[in-house]
């Protein structure tokens, strides 16, 4: 632990540095995209939108739209998604004391997909349907595993798996049975930030802020939960209450995120692992660090997706896996080498 502490040095200094770099990174990200817009034009557009300078004549309506209505909300969405997934993943890994826990494990993603498909058939605003589906799946898992009495992590995990299988199967069945070609190819599964807009960013932000605050408040409890249920209780943690609150809060957070972006795998599983590998288990440190790394990672992947996308949009979920997995494997490999 000693060298790990040394590694991070003064922690608030590190956070400051990370924030600074993140802002820089986000700014650079605005430049990336298929449309050819110069940095000067971008600055001019943003300046004009903020009513600082007049809009240059040479800038077309399309370019204005691209920078202000496509790229910027998309970057904001990437940041929110990154922080939400990584932090929720970290929270789940403590709540369930299982290294394979990820934010979608309680049925959120399959529920959202099924909900979206239902919305597709019955009509309506898809994100709302997806949200309802996600909450339904999640609620089913939590209530069947016993929200009233003791919430047992292993029971939650298993019911989550079962519900995931069930909902996915139901979706596949509906797809197969439907002769509708559109439904057959309808894929909610692979996440994408394509539809990001200020409205969505706003809604997600409004949900993200209070819930992440809650998670930050519960950092101490998350640490204690790692010591086991009985020990946590003996030290004064109301284990059931904490579990329930965190479960409900994370469900809402992830359901909303999934409703807006679809399922973006890997982030919520791997970022917390990476952070723990590098900085240890203490949630006081790892929770904010997970947030930072999650944002960096998703933003980086989305930049990649946008950079290579001249031939069509590559879903973000694919990029996160294609770039995250090899790096993660490398980390594991290095860890092994170091150990032996």
């Amino acid at each position: 632990m000693k060298h790990k502490k040394a590694l991070i040095g003064n922690i608030s200094y590190l956070y400051f540095l990370l924030t600074l770099c993140l802002i820089l990174f986000a700014c650079i990200s605005v430049i990336i995209g298929v449309a050819d817009i110069t940095v000067g034009d971008i600055i001019n557009i943003i300046g004009a939108k903020l009513k600082l300078v007049p809009l240059s004549e040479s800038i077309s309506k399309g370019q204005e739209t691209i920078v202000w209505n496509l790229r910027i909300p998309r970057i904001l969405m990437a940041l929110l998604t990154g922080i939400n997934l990584a932090i929720t993943g970290a929270v789940y890994q403590s709540l369930f004391r299982n290294d394979m826990a990820d934010p979608y494990m309680l049925g959120v993603s399959s529920g959202a997909s099924l909900g979206a498909a239902m919305g597709f058939i019955l009509g309506g605003f898809l994100p709302v349907w997806a949200f309802v589906g996600a909450m339904l799946a999640n609620g089913l898992v939590i209530s069947l595993s016993g929200i009233k009495g003791k919430v047992s992590p292993i029971r939650l995990l298993l019911s989550g798996l079962a519900i995931n299988y069930f909902f996915s199967a139901l979706l596949s069945y509906i797809r197969i049975q439907s002769e509708d070609k559109q439904l057959a190819v309808f894929v909610w599964g692979m996440g994408s930030l394509n539809a990001a807009s200020y409205k969505r960013v706003g809604i997600l932000l409004a949900i993200t802020v209070p819930i992440l605050c809650l998670f930050f408040v519960y950092r101490k409890e998350l640490n204690l939960l790692l010591m086991g249920e009985e020990a946590a209780k003996a030290m004064g943690v109301d284990v059931s209450k904490v579990r329930k609150r965190l479960l409900v809060a994370s469900s809402i957070l992830i359901a909303t995120n999934v409703a807006f972006t679809g399922t973006i795998g890997f982030v919520g599983l791997i970022i917390p692992h990476m952070v723990r590998l590098l900085f240890g288990s203490n949630y006081k440190r790892t929770l904010p660090l997970c947030g930072f790394f999650g944002m960096y990672f998703v933003l980086f992947c989305d930049d990649l997706a946008r950079a290579v996308s001249s031939k069509g949009e590559v879903p973000l979920g694919i990029v996160t896996a294609l770039f995250g997995a090899p790096y993660f494997m490398y980390l594991i490999y290095k860890e092994r080498r170091r150990e032996s």
């Binding site: 995209g33 298929v34 449309a35 050819d36 077309s60 309506k61 399309g62 370019q63 739209t65 691209i66 209505n69 496509l70 790229r71 919305g119 597709f120 058939i121 019955l122 009509g123 309506g124 605003f125 898809l126 197969i176 049975q177 439907s178 002769e179 509708d180 070609k181 559109q182 057959a184 190819v185 309808f186 894929v187 994408s192 394509n194 539809a195 807009s197 946008r306 996308s309 001249s310 031939k311 069509g312 949009e313 879903p315």
Partner: protein, 305 residues
């Protein structure tokens, strides 16, 4: 948002075409152009100017646009839009289901036409930034195809040309009907249209467009009971097809003859596995009528010519 219930392809649901022409375009002069239609998402699209920069998000709409003589007004296409061949010179905006929004916006289109596969999100996002998107997810049958052609015609001010194209198609269907009149309805050949085989079998069910084409071509579909595309080997064996039809270009006919189970099917043994142009039969465009004729010729070489 999605409000495309009812007007979807399912024959079980309301067969009416939801797109209604609420105001006839005046075709006298370009400056007086004003048309409003309701597309498959229930959205009203109003054009006050004849579209000059059109992006097509589906091979079928591309074919329709080109058939209406609008090739020179198109500025973007998907990478699957490959007919007519000259269209491949246009810039791509990606695939059908998830095209690149930024690339589309960058083309400054005044109309985007899409069909079936385009994701809701892309449509929603394009509309949000003020681009006209007509999403034509018509019934998967001839009626739906005609209506798609007519709607594109209205939107682009080429109603007359559209009517012509539709009439031509109808004529082909009618001609075929006449040619096939002499068939003995109790002894129609049993046909199976396979899109995939081997590990899992996929064939055109009774409620698919290809199912309708098989029916119109004067044959019994052995997968008539099936809804959708998934079928079991037992059903194929039980149906004992006289003729198997497969899309061309992927070597399916030859593969079938060397694969267990299939090679023992009567149709395969008798060499009655025929290929048909996969693109024209699966795209809801002007070429489906040709596909129908081609199918009929394969099934009844003696009658349809």
């Amino acid at each position: 948002g999605s409000k495309n219930q009812g007007d979807q392809t399912a024959p079980s649901t309301s067969p009416e075409v939801s797109a209604e022409v609420t105001s006839q375009p005046e075709q006298t002069a370009d400056e007086a152009f004003n048309v409003t239609i309701t597309d498959s998402t229930g959205t009203e699209i109003t054009l006050t100017k004849k579209p000059e920069r059109i992006v097509s998000l589906a091979p079928s709409t591309t074919e329709i646009l080109c058939a209406l003589g609008l090739e020179d007004k198109m500025v973007g296409r998907t990478k699957y839009c490959n007919y007519p061949e000259s269209i491949t010179a246009l810039p791509e905006v990606g695939g059908t289901s998830n095209p690149n929004v930024e690339a589309i916006v960058d083309l400054n289109p005044d109309l985007v036409v899409g069909a079936t596969h385009v994701s809701e999100e892309v449509i929603g996002k394009l509309r949000e930034v003020g681009i006209n998107v007509a999403f034509l997810n018509e019934q998967e049958n001839f009626e739906g195809t005609y209506s798609a052609i007519e709607k594109v015609g209205m939107l682009t001010g080429t109603d007359e040309k559209a009517a012509e194209v539709v009439a031509e198609m109808k004529q082909k269907v009618a001609d075929l009907e006449i040619a096939l009149q002499g068939l003995n309805l109790t002894e129609l050949p049993k046909v199976y249209y396979a899109t995939g085989f081997g590990e899992s079998d996929y064939g055109a069910g009774g409620d698919t467009f290809i199912g309708e084409i098989i029916h119109l071509a004067g044959a019994t579909n052995i997968a008539q009971e099936i809804s959708g595309w998934s079928i079991s080997k037992e059903q194929i064996a039980d149906g004992d097809p006289d003729i198997i039809i497969v899309p061309s270009g992927v070597n399916m006919a030859a593969d079938m003859a060397t694969t267990d189970f299939y090679k023992d099917l009567r149709a395969v043994k008798e060499g009655k596995v025929y290929e048909i142009d996969g693109d024209s039969i699966s795209r809801q465009g002007p070429r489906v009528a040709d596909a129908l004729v081609e199918m009929a010729q394969k099934i009844h070489p003696e009658l349809a010519k």
